[in-house]
Subunit: 373 residues, 3 copies
């Protein structure tokens, strides 16, 4: 048996506080541009099957029970109690919570209380800029306030997170260096003049400025990559497109953590091999690929140095996703490493050591959690 | 054991009626720009080994017998009787036949009779346009006749099929919307003026017009993707390049079925997850990867919703390919799903249900076969 | 059991003659732009684990012993004796040595003596051009001397090797044909005027000229592809980008061997399927992916004709890498083929035959080794 310490879930969001009907629950299972096609259901996916395998027992039901039965039991317990049982069943010791997600989600402390775990904040750069823009009258004030806000966030959070890697990899590839001050002022002026209150920042120059402001703090930066949201361009999913930015930030002190990357996760592993400051995340692969997770995990373990891989659930909105991420991870990691020990390729001792690194140790080191707790 | 109903082979062509020598037979096994390299044979491929495993027993020989022995037995039986035995050994209940392939191939009804199955027609758009061009005197007549021909084809066929996704993905990526009427007239005029009778349509504007004419009928459209023909540009093989077209056709009613995709089949699965009207085909992977098919199939099953995956053989010219597709599929699907049930990840009941969906149910729903039969 | 004949290692470099400390040894294990990140070591990689599994027993220690213990034993034996034991433990019958690598490395004959094997030379084109440039006074002399040097190299070597496929795939994609004489003269003039003595050739026109000069000799050309050196652009790693060059060289007589390709190795296999003169190398995948090598090898065996796959270790500097490549290869190939025989998909006879082809027979045929020995 491969034993792991309590996990560090290095990338997740809060959970919904409200009761959920079958349709609302189902809509959170996969990342789709629309409702299920006629004659199909999102429960008929690896994520759906993984939820039905792992979650019913945590609420006192048989594994693989029908979705309608599971949802009835969930309502019977209430959303808060169900979340409590699911999160505590996951064996997680610490959460890094992306607090920039929209919706009425639990804050880090609330998630920590429900899950009997520590919680740390990862600040998403785009909403930070949007909040600053909402309260700044001029371009100069916006840029000064933004610098202050990034600096202030760095003092309280353990990481920044940014979607520019997934949305503008081509912009980052063509111009990996920090934009000049005049360029930034121009872009900020155009954005502030044209935006409605609360509108999202999408300007590539401003996003590069945000990223480089974050790099300057030395805090780790989580970069979204891979085929995630339907709005994203899948031909931009390969983390290899971030190589220019990776090279430009080498040696500056801020670790980069590549989130996702699937189906180009081997490129993320390759970057983690080639650049000392790059790390690869493996979480969202787990709940999304379910029964197939061991194979995907083995692919990440081909090239990535074992000190550079970090567990996360990628869980959001449904506590089921936080729990399934953790339970699929332990199962898949155990299966892969036991296999390699059985082949004689790895020793038990090394397998246990690597499992502990990926489960928790690497994240504790990269995010300096033991200094922040 | 995983049981499947009689398969729906949702993409294949007819089979050759003539007797085949060793060299002619071998040349159909893989998709090569030339004859085997000196010192090698196309029989030394996964497809060749799969044919030698599965087909000799259907003709009364030992599995893995030598190619020359197999071909002798095939000639002894005659091409028609060999085809009859091979097709009936495949356990296929219905074929969707692409009738646009060149060569002296069996028509759908003939294939159905030989295989004791139903047959439906999938109309390939390019040859349809070429036939219309051969008999239309002016640009206006060509466009009117083409509209009529697409409309008429939609009444008799269950699907359209088109190679533009494989040959012009960049054109579709840059201009996913329907071309304007003036643009279409210009392109049609240039093509009609320059073409020899029977010449292939390769103009990207016309191909987009064909695709959008097909979309308007609401019939499912099978789009070729992936590394197929040697003449195709392999750097264009990623179905992710079709995302713009996929997004432009969302919600219009016509399902899209992405054929092939290998080695980027995970991108096809991702599109099937992200867009309700997109489906992924898994057939050509099976006979082409043979003993390795279970691993490739498992990769497709990572992200694709189980209601969006469709079996096909991709068989063409040799009835061996229709048979091997079906037999490899059952073997590989059984192996993958039994493994997941054995791990506790899936229930038997779900495994049987998903097997039936991929084998036949999804195709029956998407192509409305039960209304057409 | 799958038996293989003595291997032909069709792509490696010489080994370091000097004693190595822990840090110097570790630095050779993976291809990184910098030293290990704080808190990590390159020994915690698949390559590090594979070295610790396979090499200690060849030097009389327990497998998986600690790196510091292994290095102490290596120093005790001396670099030469350690190399002798490691190379002889690999079961290699012939090495093709890329003699263009920088550093104080053993020459082919020395490697052959140490490993009790044959050795053949693969001439790297870039250093050949650089040596010619160092001793040529004019553009005309340079081009004439270069033609002579390529011709002369072809008489003594069994292959050329070239990095342009990895460094300039976009240039090769846009201009796959041989550059014209005026273009070559212009590029040579600019390069000769601007270069310091010994400076590397990076001009895409000159690299294309080198490649086409090599093609004209008819000797096999080994093209580097895939995610190799950190200096390379990972978005250029897909061998599919070489399709234009592959098509342009079809039928001219010079075999192409695609080195590496990971994580796009399936594209390399696809090119080997589609073009008679293309072959795929599988070596560097083995020592780099270690315990995961069987899965990667199985992926290469999906589409590549079995007569087109060639073993190599990709070993360089450390004889451990030559040995690990060979030992991982035999283990992984045996595991994959035994599995397929066990499934009934392959016969034992075919498995043994294919193992012998990949291990040695294909390389002996492609490089005409039996005529050169």
């Amino acid at each position: 048996m491969i034993e792991t310490p309590p996990l560090v879930d290095q990338h997740c969001q809060g959970v919904l506080r409200t009761e959920l009907g079958l349709g609302t629950f189902e809509a959170q299972l996969i990342r789709s541009a629309g409702p299920p096609a006629a004659g199909t259901t999102f429960f008929d996916t690896q994520t759906g099957f993984a939820v039905r395998r792992w979650c019913p027992p945590l609420l006192g039901l048989e594994p693989h029970c029908a979705p309608v039965r599971y949802l009835a039991r969930r309502r019977e317990l209430g959303a808060a109690e169900a979340a409590r049982r699911l999160l505590r069943g996951a064996g997680v010791g610490a959460y890094l919570v992306d607090t920039g997600a929209p919706g009425d989600l639990t804050a880090p402390k609330e998630l920590a209380r429900a899950g009997d775990a520590e919680a740390f904040e990862a600040v998403r750069l785009e909403p930070l800029a949007e909040q600053v823009a909402d309260t700044s009258g001029t371009v100069a004030a916006f840029l000064a306030n933004l610098a202050g806000a990034v600096h202030h966030a760095a003092a309280g959070a353990v990481a920044f997170t940014c979607g520019a890697g997934a949305r503008y990899p081509a912009a980052l590839a063509q111009a990996p260096e920090p934009p000049g001050p005049g360029e930034v002022r121009g872009a900020a002026g155009r954005w502030l003049a044209g935006r409605a209150k609360g509108a999202a920042v999408r300007d590539p120059v401003l996003l590069r400025h945000l990223l480089w402001s974050a790099v300057a703090t030395g805090l780790p930066i989580q970069l979204h990559t891979g085929a995630g949201e339907p709005g994203q361009r899948p031909e931009h999913a390969d983390p290899a497109l971030l190589t220019g930015f990776v090279r430009a930030t080498a040696g500056l002190g801020a670790p980069l953590v590549l989130l996702g990357g699937y189906p180009h996760h081997r490129s993320a592993a390759r970057l983690a091999e080639a650049f000392p400051h790059v790390h690869a995340d493996l979480g969202p692969l787990l709940a999304r690929t379910g029964a197939g997770a061991a194979a995907v995990l083995a692919e990440l373990l081909e090239l990535a140095p074992f000190g550079k891989l970090l567990y996360s659930s990628g869980g959001r909105r449904l506590p089921e996703l936080h729990a399934v991420g953790a339970l699929v991870f332990r199962e898949a990691l155990g299966r892969v490493l036991r296999g390699w020990v059985g082949d004689g390729a790895w020793s038990w001792r090394d397998a246990d050591r690597v499992a502990a690194m990926i489960a928790a140790g690497n994240a504790r080191r990269v995010y300096r959690l033991d200094e922040r707790a």
